[in-house]
Amino acid sequence: MSDAGNSFTKYGLHDVNDLLEISLPNTEIKIERIGENAFSYFRKDSEGKIVEKMVPVKSNQIQIEVAPIRPLNHPARRTGYVFLKFDKEIYLSENSAASIFVHCPIEIGIFLIHDSHHDSLDWITCNPLNSRFGLYGSPDTGTLCKYAEVSLATDYSDSIPFVEGVMKIVIENTLSSGQTVSKVIFPITDNSLYYEDSKAIIDGIKVTMKKRAVVSIADVKTAPVSTDWTKSPTWEDTTITTSMEMGLE
């Protein structure tokens, strides 16, 4: 299962026969058969946190898909917005546009494929220190975002395996004066992720700085990537609280 070039498991589908070990940076995952129709899941992450689950299934064959997902779950899911702070400011003169690639943090989703189901089993982050919150606006009316300081990337192949994907940002300045851009805030929930081997790319965004009445605004729209890389499944939080007499989580 492991890549000969490095010791880490690649993104993609993996069959689970008796034991599957997935090795990711600072993270260890084991899926083991414990019965004809039952598997155990074990994960120890970079913060030393251990997660263990029992996975009973109908069929005796399961597959695991390891795929990059949106960076919204660590330390807890609180928002769908992302705040990217550029390490270098970008200056755009009047009526001009620029296209840049940036490193955007990602998380890794572990998906369980069994009995024609595709379930979200677990998620991890290989770089928890760059997984923090930030506020855009005032404390009472502002928007809570996942915050990351990001550097420029050369192109889509510049992805940092398991830690950062590459995102294309097109910035257009239609205002009558030059503008300096140091950050971008947008909802990442509409951006899909794609993977190949251990690299990931994220749907881009197009930022248009324009005048609306007397106010200058930055309009952000998703710009889907055209690629032949594999599209990641959407991570869905399956931990819900069901109302019943004694509760279930």
Binding site: P75, R78, R132, G134, G142
Partner: protein, 290 residues
């Protein structure tokens, strides 16, 4: 009577018996024009009204309430339930031939008397209405009422009183009048909140270094502390025994437990690791020589 009954049951007049029975009931007067039959019809109307009210309430909770805010759903549910019951009651009174206009005149005088006697009840009722309109806090909010030293989760704003579940798990009932006229601090109305602690370092230690190590420890070990706005450090006081530094950090509104209770531990750990002294109160005594 027995023979009569036998005749109707097995004779040609099947079906006449219930009509006759009802006629008998309509002839049985209780008070004035009130007969057993009219009372029975009234009872059926009220029972039907109650059943409809309950069914509507259940259906409302099942299909519409999940899409509405909790307190709005609860108020609408009460409005529907009691609205149907009042309509049923009006239908009941009209079926009994009761004229309510006289009652209204008498009720006006009676209401003044009752009003004086139940000022606080009416006051609570009116305050409840205003609380529902103004909505200083909504169901599920974490609130603090400093005047009454109450902190907890607002369970509901009722007709006469509101209920708050305190952090120790007990539920306290607050009359709406007191609730409405008190200062209410909402702890979850803003997107983020701030936690703060004070720590003292010795005069011989470098302030910049102490702040730097605290900041680094917070960054590494407290994932719920916001990067923007970043943690703030204020040298608050040159105290008797120490230089007092205030540490202020922002966190998402729902994650108070991941910030305030562990902030001081994190600060102390950082200072201990860096060898920065947290001094005890001390006094320097100079001994005079003769």
């Amino acid at each position: 009577m027995g023979r009569h009954y036998y005749y109707h049951k097995y004779g040609d007049g099947i079906g006449i018996m219930p009509i006759e029975f009802l006629q008998n009931l309509s002839e049985m007067q209780i008070v004035g024009n009130l007969t057993v039959l009219s009372l029975l019809i009234g009872g059926i109307i009220m029972a039907t009204g109650l059943i409809i009210a309950k069914v509507v309430k259940v259906l409302f909770y099942k299909y519409y309430a999940p899409t509405l805010p909790k307190d709005t759903a609860q108020n609408l549910s009460k409005l529907l339930y009691f609205g149907i019951i009042i309509i049923s009651f009006l239908a009941f009174t009209s079926s009994q031939g009761i004229d309510l206009s006289g009652l209204l005149v008498a009720g006006g005088i009676f209401a003044v008397v009752i009003g004086f006697a139940t000022q606080s009840v009416v006051s609570n009722l009116i305050s409840g209405v205003f609380l529902m309109l103004e909505k200083p806090a909504k169901q599920g909010d974490t609130i603090q009422i400093p005047d009454m030293s109450i902190s907890g989760t607002l369970l509901d704003i009722g007709t006469f009183s509101s209920r708050v579940r305190k952090f120790d798990g007990t539920v306290i009932r607050i009359p709406n009048e007191k609730f409405f006229t008190s200062n209410i601090r909402s702890l979850t109305a803003s997107t983020v909140r701030r936690a703060d602690v004070m720590v003292g370092i010795s005069y011989k230690d470098d302030i910049e270094n102490a702040i730097s190590v605290i900041k680094k420890e917070i960054e590494v070990t407290m994932p719920f502390v916001l990067k923007v706005p970043e943690p703030e450090f204020r040298v608050e006081e040159l105290g008797d025994s120490s230089v007092n530094i205030q540490v202020l950090v922002w966190h998402p509104k729902d994650d108070w437990s991941q910030a305030q209770p562990i902030l001081l531990t994190t600060v102390k750990r950082a200072l201990d690791r860096a060898g920065v002294e947290i001094p005890f109160p001390q006094r320097v005594i100079w001994e005079a020589k003769d």
